[in-house]
């Protein structure tokens, strides 16, 4: 059996439902002992509440005070609403767009990093090279002569420590000069 809702029974107990609704509810209540019992409880509660004495209050003053508080709240809300509403409305798409842009930029950078990293690793190491004409510093196909023989070189010595020395004899004094250049 489908019972009526509680608040309909409460309204029926107080005689506060319309005629059609009352007709339909009465049909059910006449045949349902549970609903009759609930209606009797609501009627008893109403009688009890009717016996309570309210304190001596200035209801007009309370009503005016509540209206003033409500207006004050509305005005205060209007004051602070202008910016937050605007920020809330604009910041979310802005943040979303920024995130998307950040993602795109980061992706681009990472992609570039992958492209460039091997270039750094594969960059030719500096090479110090003794040749018949002097000592050169080379990187890849490029070279720069650091010591140039002037026809009086008498030898070069390579140290696995990372340096090459070249000996020259001074044509005027006959003294030996030894020039060293270093990988680092």
């Amino acid at each position: 059996m489908n019972h009526p809702r509680e608040h309909d029974l409460a309204l029926l107990a107080g005689g506060e439902v319309g005629r059609i609704r009352r007709f339909l509810l009465d049909r059910h209540v006449h045949a349902c002992a549970d609903c009759q019992r609930k209606i009797a409880e609501y009627q008893d509660l109403r009688d009890d509440l009717a016996g309570i004495e309210f304190p001596d209050l200035n209801w007009n003053f309370l009503a005016a005070d509540m209206r003033a508080n409500i207006r004050l709240g509305l005005e205060a809300g209007a004051c602070v609403r202008a910016e937050p509403v605007l920020r809330r409305w604009n910041s979310r798409p802005a943040i979303a767009i920024a995130c998307v842009l950040l993602l795109l930029v980061a992706g681009e950078l990472l992609r570039d990093g992958r492209l460039h990293r091997p270039a750094i690793v594969d960059a030719p190491a500096p090479v110090l090279q003794s040749t018949g004409s002097g000592i050169e510093l080379r990187t890849g196909a490029n070279s720069l002569t650091l010591l140039k023989h002037n026809g009086d070189a008498v030898g070069q010595t390579v140290s696995a420590r990372g340096d090459i020395s070249a000996r020259y004899i001074d044509s005027e004094t006959g003294s030996v000069t030894i020039n060293n250049v270093y990988l680092q």
């Binding site: 110090l128 090279q129 080379r138 008498v154 030898g155």
Partner: protein, 387 residues
């Protein structure tokens, strides 16, 4: 790749490739060069000539061509036997630093001598503060083998080795003169000149931490990596004995040489240098270079072992053609004891081994040969009798 190498990789290609926009300026000695001689140095700077020294701005780098002459005076009380100057344009990157040494000299107190500085250095343009080039005294060696100087380049050791070799070779030629007269001296010096002319010399490309890429002969010889053992030439008087050693070989390239040595003397040793010979497929021997002990201080107690190793790659060629390495030989070429005394192979060691033919003569032997070639036997005899 180190930071310095990255700087180099960034700067040097600019120097190479931006030559079209190069701007040359002569170097002003007052503002471009700073010559540092400590106040208590046994040398006074008398004058400086700049020759055609110039700075060339090329892209992001400055190429400094130095053709200077420094006239110095021995202001000390002892004869000077050798001097080393450190020339710096930038401290840590390749091509930024060099040194000029003059061994085998005899400069009495109060006497002037001129030291030429002919070298090219590179520095980044952005390093604008201070002079372009700094010339510092690194060391002075005296006739009693005492030393003065900051010794940042280990000049004391190098100058001492050269001086001891000079004393050995002067004694050898003086003995030839005393034993066999001028004819004997002439034969000895002519044999030396012939050896110097015949000595096969290699062109070597040297790089750190890997292969010597960038060499003009970088891929000329296809090769497979293999580890080759060193054969050893044991000199009877050597205080240190090589035990085992090897290097990775690929065609004409040898990498990461390392040699285990034993101090068989009764004294602690603080430096050892290994001479390195390579033989090509045709059986020709060449002096490849040297494998020195690391820069860090090494003390090898008597009877103890140590390993010398360098993380470098050397690529060899001769006459523009790559030399395919067939075998390698190593020998102990220099030893420095903890008390500063040094050992070098004796003349007898050299004479009785293939070393005399293959290894470089001492600077003093080259100087004496040059005196004979240019001034004759009488001048050589006079030089040998001088000190």
């Amino acid at each position: 790749m180190s930071i310095c190498s990255r700087i180099f990789v960034g700067v040097l290609p600019l120097a190479f490739t931006a030559a079209l926009s190069a701007q040359e300026t002569s170097l002003d000695p007052a503002s471009s060069i700073k010559i540092d001689l400590p106040a208590d140095a046994p040398l006074n700077l008398i004058s400086t000539t700049m020759g055609d020294s110039r700075a060339t701005s090329r892209g992001g780098a400055i190429v400094l061509d130095l053709h200077m002459g420094l006239t110095l005076r021995n202001s000390g009380a002892r004869h000077i036997r050798g001097v080393t100057l450190l020339i710096t344009a930038q401290e840590f990157a390749p091509g930024g630093k060099g040194s000029v040494a003059r061994p085998s000299i005899d400069v009495p107190p109060g006497e002037n001598f001129t030291l030429p500085v002919d070298i090219r250095l590179v520095r980044p343009v952005r390093e604008t503060a201070g002079p372009l080039v700094r010339v510092q005294l690194d060391g002075v060696l005296f006739d009693d083998l005492s030393f003065y100087g900051p010794n940042r380049l280990n000049s004391q050791r190098a100058l001492t080795f050269w001086e001891v070799e000079a004393q050995r070779d002067r004694a050898f030629f003086r003995q030839a003169l005393q034993a066999r007269g001028q004819k004997g001296l002439q034969e000895a010096i002519l044999a030396s000149i012939a050896r110097q002319e015949d000595r096969p010399q290699l062109d070597v490309a040297l790089s750190r931490n890997g292969r010597a890429v960038g060499s003009i002969v970088s891929s000329a010889v296809p090769g497979t990596d293999r580890v080759a053992q060193f054969a050893f030439l044991n000199l009877p008087g050597a205080p240190v004995q090589p035990l085992e050693g090897w290097a990775a070989i690929s065609g004409n390239e040898a990498r990461s040489p390392q040699v285990e040595v034993l101090n068989k003397s009764g004294r602690p040793v603080r430096y050892v240098e290994i001479g390195w010979l390579v033989k090509d497929k045709e059986g020709h021997d060449y002096l490849a270079g040297s494998v020195p002990a690391p820069e860090s201080a090494m003390v090898l107690p008597a009877g103890q072992h140590a390993r010398l190793q360098q993380d470098t790659a050397l690529k060899f060629s001769h006459g523009g053609r790559p030399i395919e390495i067939d075998s390698m030989t190593a020998y102990v070429s220099k030893v420095e004891f903890a008390d500063g005394k040094v050992w070098v192979p004796s003349r007898h060691d050299l004479d009785t081994s293939p070393l005399l033919r293959v290894t470089a003569p001492s600077p003093e032997e080259q100087r004496l040969a040059d005196i004979y070639a240019k001034k004759g036997l009488a001048a050589l005899v006079g030089e040998l009798n001088r000190y």
